[in-house]
């Protein structure tokens, strides 16, 4: 309420401080262009990071999967099961993992 009851000095100061609206003159378009560029760079860098990460991690993951399969096979063999018939091969696991990562990546791209 006190703000509504402005005195003559306030009105005088308002008039002194008043200025014309600043024309946009492409200012907002410039910001939108910068933002779009930034979003594009972020999206690409995310994709590249994912691919590089997959390539770097692929070999240790395959080795780990092979080791795990061997261990599981030995355990199954010691228990008297025919492990080789029932368990997935390393190649199948690798393809499954790669397919999973690619699906996650494209879902993220579509979502963004």
């Amino acid at each position: 309420m006190a703000e509504i009851l402005r005195d003559a000095d306030d009105r005088w100061l308002e008039a002194a401080f008043a200025s014309d609206a600043v024309p946009d003159d492409g200012f907002s378009d410039g910001i939108v262009r910068r933002l779009r560029r930034r979003v594009r760079i972020r999206r690409w860098s995310l994709g590249v990071a994912l691919i590089v990460g997959t390539l770097v991690a692929a070999r240790p993951v395959v080795e780990l999967a092979t080791l795990l399969l061997r261990v599981v096979g030995q355990v199954a063999g010691s228990l008297g099961f025919e492990a080789g018939d029932a368990l997935p091969s390393a190649a199948m696991l690798l393809w499954g993992g790669a397919l999973f990562l690619v699906t996650v990546f494209w879902l993220r791209v579509l979502d963004s």
Partner: protein, 184 residues
């Protein structure tokens, strides 16, 4: 396309879809006030526009922190004011502009008499104020922010805002010896 949509709707759209066009509409709506504010604070149009651009880019980055409690424009003004203060500390270019403004202030801040029905040069008015007073006076009289909004921008209680405004007015009165001809 976005005409008639409230600021909060546009903010929600930007947050949910990373929609740069919706943010562009927010910039279009508020750029004048933000640029005017920074132009009056820095006294340099190019520097002010650079700071305004940085402010809006920061606003985009921090948009999820906008709670929707205050108005969007006061939230952006807060970012603009922070950007201005940080730039003052970091930028040599800004220091040069301020030094120049200081010389101008020395030259212009001599006491003079003006009539209450004539408008003085704004540069002369601002020259007698310190930076905090200048920012708050500009927000109040040039940008039309309420005391509460100014408090949000500066992080000060409303009472402090009022007292700084009062002090600024007193300084202007003292320096300019406003001669009252309002009542004939």
């Amino acid at each position: 396309m976005f005409a008639g949509k409230a600021d909060t709707e546009l903010v929600a759209r930007v947050l949910s879809a990373q929609d740069a066009r919706a943010f562009g509409e927010l910039v279009r709506r508020h750029q004048s006030r933000v640029r005017n504010f920074l132009r009056k604070l820095t006294g340099d149009m190019a520097l002010a526009d650079d700071l305004a651009q940085d402010s809006f880019m920061r606003a985009w980055d921090k948009l999820e922190t906008y709670s929707g409690k205050g108005t969007f424009v006061s939230w952006v003004m807060k970012i603009a004011y922070t950007t201005f203060l940080q730039s003052r500390r970091q930028s040599k270019r800004y220091a040069a502009v301020i030094e120049q403004a200081g010389h101008t202030a020395d030259a212009e801040a001599r006491t003079c008499t003006i009539h209450s029905d004539e408008l003085p040069d704004l540069g002369k008015l601002l020259a007698v104020l310190n930076e905090e007073e200048r920012a708050i006076m500009v927000m109040s009289y040039a940008c039309g922010l309420s005391h509460r909004e100014i408090g949000d921008v500066t992080g000060s209680p409303v009472g402090t805002v009022k007292s700084i405004l009062h002090r600024g007015k007193e300084k202007i009165r003292t320096h300019f010896e406003i001669e009252d001809r309002r009542h004939g």
